[in-house]
């Protein structure tokens, strides 16, 4: 960094890449060359800054100015104004959505204020394709400490002391898991990094791998050292091409530096990592299913015990952790278990990464200390609900989690509180819903997902979830009956109680939690054939209010199916047989002439 006076960091996360961050980067590079500034200014394509809502984001170093929603055509102005003249480009600065005031740098943005970044520490700061940058940010220091100064059990002790729990969903104490694998005798052991992140609406692990692949590699080597495994496997979704390519680059670099392979850092410890690809099966996030998938089989879970720690990949002791769990390890070693344990709550230490999405102003990737309240996350970091609408619920834990209402907004987020509230931590998806969201429809959405992703091995999950989904469909179609609510409740409880793996054991949570907190909404559907949120299409009818219609033809022109007829300046008419109830006419009408009933 020292040889340059300026750095321009362009977010290269998948979200920003989709919004032309690559083009932005090349505009900068081309223009800098043109102006002869290439010696002065370095352009770095980093990973996700987390603030996806405002992407593509460009960060200027060393002054830390953040520009949002940048376009390739803005590069010229940024160079001429910011770099050459030292003036910030006002129009590209972030504005606080509430006060409207300009925020010039990261530290002063509400989005970042309450975050503590451990797992995401390097994301957006370093070039993930350069091992030297990782090393410059204390990378592989923890590995050095472990291999040269600590015995495996001492490292495990530190992890245990830190209180780190698995970040993939279950929250099993990581140190204990390592200890079990370490103590099981075996000539060959494996450590596996689970990157089969499948929750719809979750992208934590992908972002870490894209932004900081070396931290995962470093942690896996430490894991191997502690457990006596000489081989690591990364099980990654094939749908993550960028993460895969960055991981491959990182692996090659680590090998070139002697950090993977034989006799690592002269310690006599041998370790290497291979990549295995998922192929689109959510259930493979379950560790036994993941292992079967790595073995080339159908990803069907098997009964535990035996746990993978005892009998896993190819029947050998196998330690499985997810990406975020691993990303915490080097920091725990570097900064100490006590430091880590000082963050968080009594039983949930450290931080948690969440993918904040849904009806919220600031969609993005955030990392907060455990114990932060939902209100802080949603209102302070997330900037509140979009369009000034009313908060209705927040869903954590994806299809395994539940919906939490406003009464839980001040609940500190940790494993046990979420579980007690009928949801779960899950891997970190956090979807915010507003008054326009129908909770029955959301429950149906999640069950539809579970039905799609159930492996089919055990009867309660295979058939039970299907039946739950059918009942929910009935209700949202206006064909439900009041007894359906009891059926949902009773069936959900049996599915939870009797299913083989974690998928089935948690799949009814969206139903149970919505039934508990939004029962009146279910009742409205079955008793009055009314969807209070106006979302259930079968229960909704769009009509033109004749008195209000001015005949502006806006609805006519926007209707995607041509269901609206009417001459200019005459009252329009919606053909109900053609209407697909998309609601566009309602959104577009400037005169409030569309009635939703």
């Amino acid at each position: 960094m020292s040889e340059y006076n300026f750095q321009i960091l362009v977010c290269g996360g998948t979200g920003c890449k989709a919004s032309e961050s690559e083009e932005i980067r090349s505009s900068f590079v081309n223009l800098l060359n043109e102006y002869g500034l290439e010696e002065e200014v370095q352009v770095v394509l980093t990973d996700c800054f987390g603030f996806c809502e405002k992407g593509p984001i460009v960060k200027m170093m060393p002054d830390k100015t953040v520009y949002v929603r940048v376009k390739p055509s803005d590069a010229d102005e940024i160079i001429k104004e910011h770099i050459v003249k030292g003036n910030q480009v006002e129009r590209l600065l972030y504005r606080d959505p509430v006060t409207g005031t300009v925020v010039r740098d990261r530290q002063h943005m509400e989005f970042y204020k309450k975050q503590i970044r451990i797992a995401l520490r390097n994301c957006g700061f370093i070039n993930p394709e350069e091992i030297d940058e990782y090393i410059a940010h204390d990378g592989y220091m923890a590995l050095g400490t472990c291999l040269t100064e600590m015995k495996p059990m001492e490292v495990i002790e530190q992890i245990k002391k830190s209180g780190l729990r698995g970040r993939g969903g279950g929250g099993f104490p990581t140190g204990l898991k390592w200890e079990i694998t370490a103590k099981v005798p075996g000539d060959q052991k494996y450590v596996v990094c689970n990157v089969d992140e499948g929750d719809p609406g979750a992208f934590m692990d992908r972002s870490i791998l894209e932004g900081d692949p070396h931290t995962v590699i470093e942690a896996m080597i430490i894991n191997g050292y502690c457990t006596g495994a000489s081989k690591g496997l990364v099980y990654i979704r094939a749908e993550y091409p960028l993460a895969i390519s960055r991981l491959k680059i990182a692996l090659a670099q680590a090998r070139a530096y002697g950090l993977l392979g034989d006799d690592i850092l002269g310690s006599g410890f041998n370790f290497d990592i291979e990549i295995r690809y998922g192929a689109g099966a959510f259930v493979c996030g379950e560790e036994t299913a993941l292992i079967h998938s790595m073995e080339g089989c159908r990803g069907e879970p098997t009964f535990k015990p035996p746990f993978p720690s005892v009998s896993g990949y190819l029947g050998k002791p196998t330690n499985v952790n997810n990406v975020e769990t691993y990303a915490n390890i080097p920091v725990i070693i570097n900064k100490g278990a006590d430091w880590f344990a000082s963050i968080g709550t009594e039983k949930s230490k450290g931080t948690k990464v969440f993918a904040l999405a849904g009806k919220i102003n600031n969609v993005g990737l955030i990392e907060v200390p455990l114990g932060t309240t939902l209100r802080e996350v949603i209102y302070d970091i997330g900037g509140g609900i979009r369009g000034g609408k009313k908060f209705k619920a927040v869903q954590t834990g994806g299809p395994s989690g539940g919906m939490l209402t406003a009464e839980f907004l001040d609940t500190p987020i940790d494993y046990d509180n979420l579980l007690a509230a009928g949801s779960m931590m899950g891997s970190g998806g956090m979807i915010v819903m507003d008054e326009d969201d129908c909770m029955v429809a959301i429950a149906k959405f999640y069950l539809g997902f579970t039905v799609e992703e159930s492996c089919g091995k055990c009867a309660p999950c295979r058939i039970g979830n299907k039946r739950l989904h059918e009942i929910l469909e009935r209700i949202t179609d206006g064909k439900g009956e009041i007894q359906d609510l009891d059926r949902l409740f009773m069936l959900s409880n049996v599915i939870k109680d009797a299913s083989l793996c974690g998928l089935g054991q948690t799949s009814p949570n969206p139903v149970l939690s919505s039934l508990k907190y939004f029962r009146q909404e279910y009742e409205a559907h079955v008793k009055a054939s009314h969807c209070p949120a106006g979302q259930c299409k079968a229960l909704v009818r769009y009509e033109v209010i004749e008195d209000k219609c001015t005949g502006c033809t806006l609805c006519f022109r926007n209707c995607p199916v041509g269901a609206i007829t009417g001459e200019k300046r005459e009252v329009h008419f919606i053909d109900q047989s053609l209407c697909i109830k998309c609601g566009v006419c309602f959104e577009k009408c400037k005169f409030g002439a569309i009635l939703v009933s």
Partner: protein, 584 residues
């Protein structure tokens, strides 16, 4: 040995570490209902995917219910097998399974023998609270097996048998979630696959999803046709199992009642496949001795070991999977087919009728026999040597339909000439039996001496792979025995690699041999039943006056009057066959 103390339904129980809750409960007389689980102890066969969730029990301190079949008992465990919570879950799960199952029990082939139906009865299901979409798959009829997949409950037993036990690999779970089902690749029909029709999938299917093709109607029509002479042969293993269909103790020999019942049904002659089993020994034994002799003379082209060829599923197996070795098995036809060709030539001649007017029915413990009798090479002018092969179960159904009180029947004798047999023929029905029968004759024919002891204990048992060396008067003969095609595959792979130690090998597709055949009364996972059937056959053997095939007077007569001598040209034509490369 580590012992575990726990309580089940408040009763204390001590078990060896590693015991499941299910087994621990069983040891103190508590039966936890199961559905997908199946264990055949002595055969080393176990299916416990933990998928049906019927056996869930409540374990104190555990968050969710535990499947008794997969959960190991641990010290201090407090198990409640019939708590309200467990029963509620069990019943709900069963209702779910039933909600995706056709309710055509009244006309289902498996009615009365269906484990799902039994369970619904046992758990008192009177209503299905969760109705919805039912799976819908195309039914598939092959020459031997019918697959009605709408009745599949995904217990995965068939898949386990097809892959783990038989290594045939035709069946696999396919698709995912609600649409998952067990099927051949690309949902092809069984007759396009490498299925051997061993029928072990049928033998273990808890519901009517897998059943045999029903030929009882055709047999009844033949019996009713006054222009036809209809004769029947009964395979050895049938007599040791048929009684079970009439609530008799497993292992009860019903030979005499079987003959009587067949006469009541209207068969003109009741003969015994044991007769042609003796004939098989004459041919196969002679072939063994010929090859052995050439081998001892240093002939490099001679193929040893010789492999038995009486099991049609095994024949189809090597034709598909080891066609390069198709000249190693004996060319002798199976007893069923030897019977058919002798019946339609020699016996038709005795009766003075055309082969077309003689209908040969066989009663077999096997579903592959249905396929075997339809093979092109076992027909003359499109008239098959054996017209219909019924399973033991089909015969039982026929007896029941015909209002015959089986248990009250007096014993009757087989007809001559094709009904006379020896103890050697009887033991064909169990693993080890064919080779023991062969050794009894081959020893005496080779050495010219009388056997000092007829029983070869070293060839008996239930081990999947067994070997023994028999002293042929100074010449050590190495014998191998395999039942279950996985074991057969091992022997063949050794042989292919050129390191086989054997001179002769007996192979049976079904675990236990024909007593455990796919056409036998359902054992429902009780291996004791198979062992009792096996013992019954050895009992019948020891009760026989003549126990060596070459001493069967009617066999001698057949050679004198008709065939000449073993391996004669005529014998070759009528009693031997060729194998085909069926690589797919």
């Amino acid at each position: 040995m580590d012992m575990i103390n726990l309580t089940i339904d408040n009763k204390p129980v001590v078990v060896v570490k590693g015991t499941t809750i299910l087994e621990a409960a069983k040891s103190i007389g508590i039966t936890v209902p199961t559905l997908c689980h199946m264990k055949l102890d002595d055969l080393g066969i176990e299916n416990k995917p933990g998928g049906c969730r019927i056996c869930v029990v409540e374990v104190k301190g555990r968050r969710n219910l535990a499947p008794a079949c997969c959960t190991e008992a641990t010290d201090g465990m407090e198990v409640s097998t019939h708590s309200i919570r467990a029963i509620n879950a069990r019943r709900t799960v069963l209702e779910l399974i039933l909600s995706d199952h056709p309710s055509d029990c009244l006309v289902c082939a498996k009615s009365g023998n269906c484990e799902l139906q039994d369970l619904a009865h046992r758990l008192g299901i009177r209503e299905i609270h969760y109705k919805g979409e039912q799976s819908s798959y195309r039914a598939d009829t092959s020459p031997a097996i019918i697959r009605e997949l709408n009745k599949c409950i995904l217990c995965r037993r068939c898949e386990m048998m097809c892959n783990e036990v038989q290594t045939v690999g035709v069946l696999s779970a396919i698709n995912r979630g609600f649409s998952s089902v067990v099927s051949p690749a690309f949902e092809m029909n069984l007759d396009h696959s490498v299925c051997t029709y061993c029928g072990q999938c049928v033998a273990v299917c808890p519901t009517g999803a897998l059943t045999e093709v029903d030929h009882t109607g055709a047999v009844v029509r033949a019996l009713a046709d006054p222009t036809k002479t209809v004769i029947v042969q009964t395979a050895p293993a049938v007599r040791a199992a048929l009684g079970e269909e009439f609530d008799m103790e497993p292992g009860t020999l019903v030979t005499g009642k079987l003959v009587a019942a067949l006469r009541r049904l209207g068969f003109d002659y009741v003969f015994d496949t044991d007769f042609s089993a003796d004939l098989t020994i004459m041919e196969e034994g002679t072939e063994l001795l010929n090859r052995l002799k050439r081998h001892l003379e240093g002939d490099p082209d001679v193929k040893l070991p010789i492999l038995t060829s009486c099991c049609p599923a095994w024949v189809k197996f090597f034709e598909h999977q080891f066609p390069d070795m198709k000249d190693i098995p004996s060319t002798a036809r199976s007893p069923q087919q030897m019977f058919g060709s002798i019946a339609k030539s020699y016996f038709a001649g005795i009766l003075g009728i055309k082969r077309e007017d003689l209908v040969v029915v066989s009663i077999m413990p096997c579903v592959a026999k249905k396929y075997e009798c339809g093979r092109d090479e076992f027909a003359v002018n499109n008239n098959p040597d054996v017209d219909f092969a019924l399973t033991t179960r089909e015969l039982a159904a026929l007896i029941k339909v015909s209002n015959i009180k089986f248990r009250l029947l007096d014993n009757e004798e087989y007809d001559a000439p094709l009904g006379e047999s020896t103890g050697a023929g009887v033991i064909f029905g169990t693993t080890g039996g064919v080779i023991e029968a062969a050794v009894r004759s081959a020893y005496e024919l080779y050495t010219g001496k009388e056997l000092p002891k007829i029983e070869f204990e070293e060839l008996r048992g239930m081990e999947g792979l067994r070997k023994a060396t028999i002293d042929f008067n100074g010449l050590p003969i190495n014998i191998g025995i395999a039942h279950g095609l996985r074991n057969a595959r091992k022997l063949l792979e050794d042989m292919r690699a050129g390191n086989s130690w054997y001179h002769a090998i007996e192979i049976m597709s079904c675990p236990g041999g024909c007593i455990g055949g796919g056409g036998q009364p359902y054992h429902h996972g009780n291996v004791e039943i198979l062992k009792k059937r096996q013992m019954a056959l050895y009992r019948e053997d020891s009760n026989k006056a003549i126990r060596k095939s070459h001493e069967n007077p009617y066999i001698k007569k057949l050679y004198e009057e008709y065939l000449g001598h073993p391996m004669s040209e005529k014998a070759h034509h009528l009693l031997h066959t060729v194998y085909f490369d069926r690589t797919r």
